[in-house]
């Protein structure tokens, strides 16, 4: 088989890497946003009564 097929192989691995990488990134960012929101909520709950 000729060299031209390497383009397809590369594209397949690239697509896979992009999809898996994007998914991982999305899950990680989601985790960061959630823990941050939970932390903010917890800290505001403690001082919540004092805030005017």
């Amino acid at each position: 088989m000729t060299d031209s097929h390497w383009g397809f192989i590369l594209a397949a691995y690239l697509v896979t890497a992009l999809v898996i990488g994007g998914m991982t990134l999305k899950i990680l960012l989601d985790y960061r946003a959630l823990t941050r929101a939970l932390g903010k909520l917890a800290s505001s709950a403690v001082v919540g009564d004092d805030v005017p």
């Binding site: 397949a12 896979t16 898996i20």
Partner: protein, 252 residues
Amino acid sequence: MPNIANPTIFLSFVRRLLPWSAALAIILLTLGLYLTFFVAPPDYQQGETVKIMYLHVPAAWLSLFIYIVMTVAALGTLVWRHPLADAGQKAAAPLGAAFTFICLATGSLWGKPMWGTWWVWDARLTSVLVLFLIYLALIALWQAIEEPGRAARAAAIMTLVGAVNLPIIKFSVDWWNTLHQPASVFRIGGPAIAISMLLPLIVMAIAATFLFLTLHMMAIRNEILRRRLRRLTILAAEQSDAPAYIAPEPAR
């Protein structure tokens, strides 16, 4: 064994397990990629293009495996009404769609040099496409229903209905395919696949499975946190005596 069905215990369990499963996935993936690119021989018919198989087949395996995981979680939701099963279901659906998409995309990129066309309405590819649609529909259902418990039960029923239907869909697509195009061009090795090609394939499949398990655990953790956040926000809104909350409700 600790009761990992308790969400809090599950979270600490995930925290301990996650580095190990992530490391295992990365090591296996590296090994699999090494075997694929430096050890596995080119196919005598397909040449180097066969390297796409090491992505395509594990993705195809995961697309089914994730549906099985979702079906088990759906049973957990309906039979034991367990929040962890809800989270397991919800976290699995986007992952299933992603791996099914990889299966379709690599199949298409494999098909172009092999068949000379990007897509063939081959029985196997078409069934995977239908599976992809079902994943997307389930994700849409999850997004449409706001209350997490209710969404979980609706999605669980749809998942089970889909699980019953998938074999029927597979059967009918096969039937349809033989009706329209008698000879299938596509064969991967058949039973007599060489060991030098089988070994990388198995390593890649196991690596992909661990990759999924790692991502699934992370996504389940997110769902547990999301539910906790939701509950706390509602609680905070109920407790606070902010006048905004008592303001007249908008007309329905």
